[in-house]
Symmetry: C2
Subunit: 677 residues, 2 copies
């Protein structure tokens, strides 16, 4: 057999292949996957490549379009129906070829454009900016069958399965171990529609296959895209991402308030509701299912696809959200010894949960780790990958409850702690959620003790506006932390959190409920009242930060570490707070400031990763099986540590990096360690 | 380590084992499985053995009860609570031991009673009287867990799965490859009840596991038996067998008329009903589901078990019954090219089909082979095992449609043919189903041409009763075949099936619709009319037997055989007909008479085998994949063969064995081959 040289760009792979080999097969031989969906029928166009003409000294070959078989009828038909596509790219027929059709009959240099490459990648913007390979649980294959005859009256399913075996081989190539036709399975709901679909489709169908094994949809004609949804069910907000499972692209992002809020603000009150009311769980469960269906409809509408074409979902949420979603009673999550019903990930047919996507679709729910370390934390781990690091990373996901994971590739430990609602702006006298009118940043001048602040919806500091009136409604989480940090830095409160009563400022005053510091006078507000930070507010923050700090401290001790190499703040909270201020009050452990990252909704990202890459599901199941859980109350030093940790920044250990933040801070009798710097 | 001799009876296995080994472990080492369900907790008593005392010269050992560890507290408690059992068997504590508890500390000869042996066998009464090993899809395991604590707050499922891994290892032994705990799965409906069940049960539960993988039930306390149902859905009758899945025992057999009969007598008219009526399929489907639920209730009541404790069902039926059961439209079964939706066996959750057994249970439906060779034929193959023979066996299952399978371990061929309702007594002038009052046997004296007959519900021949009046209502299938055979043998009809008109008998007369032979005068009947066999009835039988014979002939030709080595008649029809008479008229091919077996409801037996032994399901799936199907109308010789086959016995070939049945038969010009003997 005659051999020819083929060079593949941009990879630079090269080799010799037999004359008559298709470019796509040749590329596979050289380790370059080129996409194909249509089982090499010249109908999907996913395998387009460019043939370069000329002499390439580097490779010592003369490449030419004539060194490929001529453009055939089907190939020409496909390309001629797409003049705009070719024009936009500046390609010409002859130069651009369908690699499944073009056969090698001389030396060629082939350019494989990004969009034709197999094993697509998505990039996650995070601390690591990693690439994630798209390896979805479901794939589509075009299957063409000959109709049954009296001589070959093979049943519909067996006919389809044999055709599918062939198509999978053509599309996926020989390197992967693919199942034999008789090992395929078909979902019952899908089986029921099979006979009619095949006949209506005249035996040309697109088959959606889950896990290379189970047929979950059969559609007439050719379809190339599959869709899936990743959902993060937060206690407060439910966020859904609709994705194209072939390209990894996010087609729509939708969010809604968690409707369970009417039954209780936090998870404990919802657990109590489920315990107290005979139909409590049913109500909570139906509420979240209804909201998921609403979000799915909105997303499908935005992306202009049918709900029926969504075949896969991945959901994450804390253990309570996880249980309620699955209609599992959350009682034992809320009562000692705080045990979930299940850790392992759950796969369940759509129709069992009443979600209005394809009834044969699959719902995958990530594993839980502990009663208060749920599937959302699993998703954060999957997104940030502490289990692949040599360094010790500390992941903190803060809400009304904070989950913490610390460790490296050898060992991961985790715990959780209630932080109360203060860090989210609730239960603070003038606290509010992050929304227009909320103060989001606060600075206090050390000399004048005068503040300046930023308000959501208004550009710049309030002091930069000539007439700044009536815009402020309250204080959101990030501004509360700012305020407390600034009060401490400016010496208005001491390291025990007590207001100093001898300061020369009218803003420091005795209010109705004790001492307070007025950040905004009533003229600046839309509520017609002065907005202060009260002694009580400071106390709330002290308790919250003590809880968080003690939890982190406990994990560090378990790992025999002084401080983490990196701190990753997950969730909206982490994105909004000023990490310098957070460290100043001891909310997070001492660490180099540029080693502190806020990564946004890492739980949502983790859900999306698990949606797009099936191997990641197995990975996180295995990782979570090995995570060591520590319950704080069982730690003998907990109470002691907690009390020490209420002081600013904290009293239990040196804090080298914090010290640099406030070099001019005057001596405080309680801040012994700090003073020692 | 010190070693001791152990001899196991009745197997005679012997060997040396380490001191301290339990008798059960020692037996396993020597290849003798002893049952256990309680994970060696001394609570199930399934592992009882007898210790023989004395000198056994043959083995050169001195066995003694003292050579086992003393009876412990749990073991004594178990045995002392069962004085009746011990008394009935004549056993004494000390002699009878729980083999999981008794440890070897000297030479012993142990008797393992039948009921304690693992891998139980059931015997199927058939041509082969084979033993079938009981290897059910579901098994029960006792799992005891420590309750969760603050220090070990592992989730309920993981706690159960780890306990289950241990219990399975103890019960099943090390030789089998058992899954690790994290590979176990739990059915969703079962998961929902898990938390409450475990706590109510104080962490001692019996776990029902399917396929060594999926937990489908968790019950408080200790339960040893699992139940399953095998069902044969015939077009006319639905038969259900409720079985103990541990012992293989049939606990109840129930049957009902197929309720779909009101929508059509035969499968073709039911298919037509489903095509014509918009809700036709729905009605047919709901009717059979309702009847299955009724039969399940009756069987559970008979066996005194709860429906909820039935966890597995195996169903068989012809392709139309199969499709309707699965709510698959049977349209394409009835229209050329006659294609089923699926051949492969189907597994489906109970709750998807609306059957009222345990909702987490599994329904297994055997594979179909062709449009008119259904899951019932698969079951017949499984019961009779032609695929394991060196000889060529011909299986015939006769109803209004007949299915035929021919072959051996290397090759199986099959076909089907409509035989019409005549063979079942329908569409015959005075035909009726086999019921009290139906004539079931007929004999005609060759000289006097006078008949005698037997009636269902009356002992002996009618001629043996002095006053035999008013008992006869009609003629059932077996008597019709008898009659036609006797008319031919006595020379009343010729080999073309025509009545001879010159006979000296008032019974041979011209009736309303042509010539006929009166079997019963009106005085002998309860209907007040003479009961004749008419020319038309003879014609019906000729057509039916020609169809059956031609089908058999076609298969023989495909296999290049003159005659089969064995003929197996499945179904009620085969059990009732006189095989000599059947051969005489050429209903079945020429074969030694004692090689013709009637095996009763082999389809029901096959369903039961598949219910009791999971490996048989895989076996029949593989066998049916390879069975070659022939459609008769596509056989070029079909019409010609069919016409030749209408004559008695038939005209197409020699019939050595038939000739012996009627040595004195006078010459018949058409029976050339017959005359050549």
């Amino acid at each position: 057999m005659k051999k020819h040289n083929i060079i593949l760009q941009p990879s630079g792979r090269r080799g010799q292949v037999d004359e008559g080999t298709s470019v796509r097969s040749a590329a596979r031989e050289l380790g370059v996957e080129i996409e194909s969906i249509c089982a090499e029928n010249a109908t999907c166009g996913k395998c387009m490549v460019l043939v370069e003409a000329g002499r390439f000294e580097k490779y010592n070959i003369e490449s030419s379009q004539e060194n490929l078989s001529p453009v055939g009828t089907e190939e020409r038909a496909y390309l001629e129906r797409r003049p705009k596509l070719l024009k936009d790219k500046g390609w010409e027929i002859g130069q651009v070829r369908l690699s499944c059709q073009a056969k090698i009959c001389g030396d060629v240099l082939i350019n494989v454009p990004e969009e034709s490459r197999g094993n697509k990648q998505i990039v996650r913007k995070s601390a690591s900016n990693r690439e994630i390979e798209v390896k979805p649980a479901i794939r589509k294959y075009l299957v063409s069958m000959s109709p049954p005859t009296l001589e070959r009256p093979v049943a519909d399913w067996e006919r389809l399965a044999k055709g599918l075996e062939t198509s999978m081989g053509l599309v996926r190539g020989g390197e992967e171990k693919l199942p034999r036709w008789y090992d395929f399975e078909i979902d019952y709901a899908c089986l029921r529609a099979l006979a009619k679909t095949l006949r209506d489709a005249k035996w040309n169908v697109t088959v959606t296959v889950r896990n290379d094994k189970e047929v979950i949809a059969v559609q007439a004609g050719y379809h190339e895209d599959s869709y899936g949804a990743a959902v993060d069910i937060g206690s407060t907000t439910v966020a859904l991402y609709l994705c194209n499972l072939r390209t990894g692209e996010v087609l729509a992002s939708e969010s809604e308030m968690n409707p369970q809020i009417v039954y209780g603000e936090d998870v404990m009150s919802r657990i109590q509701y489920a315990i107290d009311q005979p139909d409590g769980l049913e109500k909570l469960h139906k509420a979240i299912i209804a909201t998921l269906n609403k979000l799915l409809s909105q997303a499908a509408h935005t992306a202009k696809i049918r709900l029926y074409d969504i075949h896969e979902m991945v959901l994450v949420g804390n253990s309570t959200m996880h249980h309620v979603l699955l209609n599992l009673h959350p009682k034992d999550l809320g009562l000692a010894p705080f045990v979930p019903t299940i850790h392992k990930s759950v796969d369940i047919k759509t129709r069992e949960l009443g979600l209005h996507i394809n009834p044969s679709g699959n719902i995958h729910i990530l594993p839980t780790i502990a009663s208060f370390v749920g599937a959302d934390t699993s998703a954060v781990i999957l997104a940030e990958e502490p289990h692949k690091q040599d360094e010790n990373w500390l992941l903190i996901d803060v809400g009304t409850n904070a989950e913490l994971v610390l460790g490296n590739r050898k060992r991961l430990v985790c715990t959780s702690t209630p932080t109360g609602p203060a860090l989210e702006g609730a239960h603070v006298e003038y606290g509010m959620r992050a929304a227009p009118g909320a103060m989001e940043r606060v600075h206090i001048d050390e000399t004048t003790l005068e503040p300046k602040y930023k308000v959501i919806g208004v550009n710049g500091w309030n002091t930069e506006h000539a007439e700044f009136t009536g815009q402020v409604k309250g204080i959101c989480g990030s501004a509360i932390i700012d305020s407390v940090a600034e009060l401490f830095r400016a010496g208005i409160v001491d390291s025990r959190g007590k207001f100093k009563k001898d300061l020369d400022s009218k803003r420091v005053r005795q209010g109705e409920s004790g001492w307070e510091y007025v950040i905004a006078w009533k003229e600046e507000t839309s509520i017609g009242r002065d907005i202060p930070i009260t002694q009580q507010d400071v106390r709330q923050i002290q308790l919250a930060k003590a809880a968080l700090f003690t939890a982190a401290r406990t994990l560090l001790k378990r790992m025999d570490l002084q401080s983490p190499d990196k701190i990753i703040l997950a969730g909206g909270f982490g994105s909004y707070i000023d990490k310098e201020k957070a460290m100043l009050i001891g909310l997070i452990p001492d660490c180099e400031l540029d080693k502190v990252y806020a990564v946004g909704n890492a739980a949502g990202d983790g859900a999306r990763i698990a949606l797009l890459n099936i191997e990641k599901r197995r990975e996180i199941d295995a990782v979570t099986r090995k995570v060591e859980r520590f319950e704080l109350p069982t730690d003998p030093e907990f109470q002691n540590q907690f009390m020490l940790a209420t002081s600013f920044p904290h009293m239990s250990e040196p804090f080298e990096h914090i010290a640099q933040l406030i070099p001019n801070r005057k001596a405080d009798p309680l801040a012994k360690n700090f003073m020692s710097k």
